[in-house]
Subunit: 307 residues, 2 copies
């Protein structure tokens, strides 16, 4: 039940209406690994960091069964750095700083020990990098999932379309789905996107939940209504990590099990937003996660026999 996670490991500085933090550890692969490690170990991490990346963080990840052989450490450069400020609605944000640093040269080489992995999560990266990872795997994983963003649709659409042909499931947010699918209706956009390659599509709608499409089937998972969203950074990556962790743990890639995986991902994301960065993800234990998942059951459960 081996899972490869490819993405950024980075530093973020975040401002929200509730507070402000200086450099804290972030990055799509970091969030995904913290979430997934609750369900499956080892996790084969693929990323790149600079000389400034915290040794404590590396130890913490290793303790959770995250294998960092695939994480390149560049001795004379700094890690990717992003800084942003969230608006009051917590759904929109301004990017203040983007320092690519080591990420500008990211050209991953998969360690030989990662070969044969059954599950692959491609975090949001330049499509060429995502394709390179797929091509390096001698045996195709059972399930390849990818994230992407509007930036690549605008600057690298052809490359993005190449990757889409090779993956099973695409995860994007609602505005990205509308942009990629060229339709305002998410149902229509989903159909167009699935014709580009992936037979599964997850559309993330933040506080409004997530939709899973496959053929003519659709499943909806709500987000947990929270009193306070403290910091939404990493929620999408945490969702992806929880989703992949559950899939890799169960080794079941049926539509039915993907529904459950979305609930697991949503539960993990609901923890993520409770504190800055990945702080909360490091605190929760198996019991907390089980309790949170049961809150989702209560949230949507109704008695059809009453109709």
């Amino acid at each position: 039940m081996s899972l490869i996670i490819v993405g950024s490991m980075a530093y973020d500085a975040i401002e929200t209406p509730f507070g402000k933090t200086d450099r804290i550890v972030g990055g799509s692969a970091t969030y995904a690994a913290y979430a997934a490690s609750n369900f499956v170990q080892p996790i084969f991490q693929v990323s790149i960091v600079g000389n400034d990346f915290s040794q404590d963080e590396i130890k913490e990840l290793e303790k959770r069964g995250v294998d960092l052989k695939g994480v390149e450490i560049v001795p004379d450069k700094k890690s990717f750095f992003w800084s942003g400020r969230y608006h009051l609605d917590m759904n929109t944000r301004d990017t203040l700083v983007t320092d690519l640093n080591v990420l500008a040269d990211f050209n991953p080489h998969l360690p030989e020990s990662y070969q044969g992995s059954e599950f692959l999560m491609l975090g949001n990266l330049m499509p060429g990098i995502q394709l390179s990872v797929i091509n390096q795997l001698r045996q195709r994983p059972k399930l390849i999932v990818m994230d992407t963003m509007n930036f690549w649709m605008e600057t690298a659409l052809e490359g993005l379309k190449e990757v889409l042909k090779k993956v099973d499931l695409l995860m994007v947010n609602d505005s990205e789905a509308r942009q990629l699918g060229g339709e305002y209706s998410l149902v229509k956009a989903a159909k167009t996107i699935m014709r580009m390659g992936p037979s599964y599509l997850i559309i993330k709608k933040g506080e409004h939940g997530a939709l899973l499409f496959h053929g003519n089937e659709v499943f909806f998972a709500p987000a947990l209504p929270l009193e306070e969203v403290f910091d939404p950074t990493g929620a999408g990556d945490t969702f992806a990590g929880g989703f992949m962790g559950h899939i890799a743990h169960t080794k079941d890639i049926s539509f039915e099990n993907m529904k459950t995986a979305i609930i697991v991902g949503s539960a993990m994301a609901s923890f993520c937003v409770e504190k800055f960065g990945a702080t909360r993800l490091k605190e929760v234990n198996r019991e907390d996660i089980q309790n949170r998942i049961h809150q989702f059951v209560d949230l949507v459960n109704f008695d059809i026999s009453l109709v």
Copy 2:
């Protein structure tokens, strides 16, 4: 299982990105009655119309068990008229014309035969009118549900607060809940609003579904993902009508049954938006409704045993 519905019966002219219609029958009480009449009869309608209101529409409503004794017909005036244009997102709209006409003088007098009704739905009207209807009922209904809007929060807040003290359930949309509760977080806004009187609160989020709050409990019902929303006019009133119809039919005002009622309301609303005005609501039969409700079951159902 008698249900009183109070609200407007009107004419609308609607423009959407998909088309345009001249005067068609609308109004909160019209939509609510069409929806509720699938589940419960008679419906005791309370409204006011002018000399222009269609006799065919009156016959159609009567055929569906809607008792119109409480609908005042003003011989020398016209019915309430609203005209609006929807934006591409179908969530926002511009009002082009609001001609109050007969609605300016609406001062309902409940027919004696309406006394003893067990369920009361107060559509969005001036709070004073809503209060007057409550006060006219010699026996308090088992469940009083009300709708309102931001306009009354801005122009008649004190009156609105008086009504809120006397109702069991308030239905508003998300921006109205934020305005009334004075909190951006819907969970926090819900708690504030429930302290104003209603022990149940439904927050309608349009294409993003609806939330039901009661004490510390919360239930979420999705909206059905549709290829096309043709005309959202009346969707909220149709939702209210389906909700009340199910409650009045089952006579069960438990939280558990309210969950099911929200699904019924959501199913009815999903029909409403498929065509202009109430057109689609007049076409669907009991089997269509059952099938639609089962689509909601499929939409949110997942297997927790897989976790």
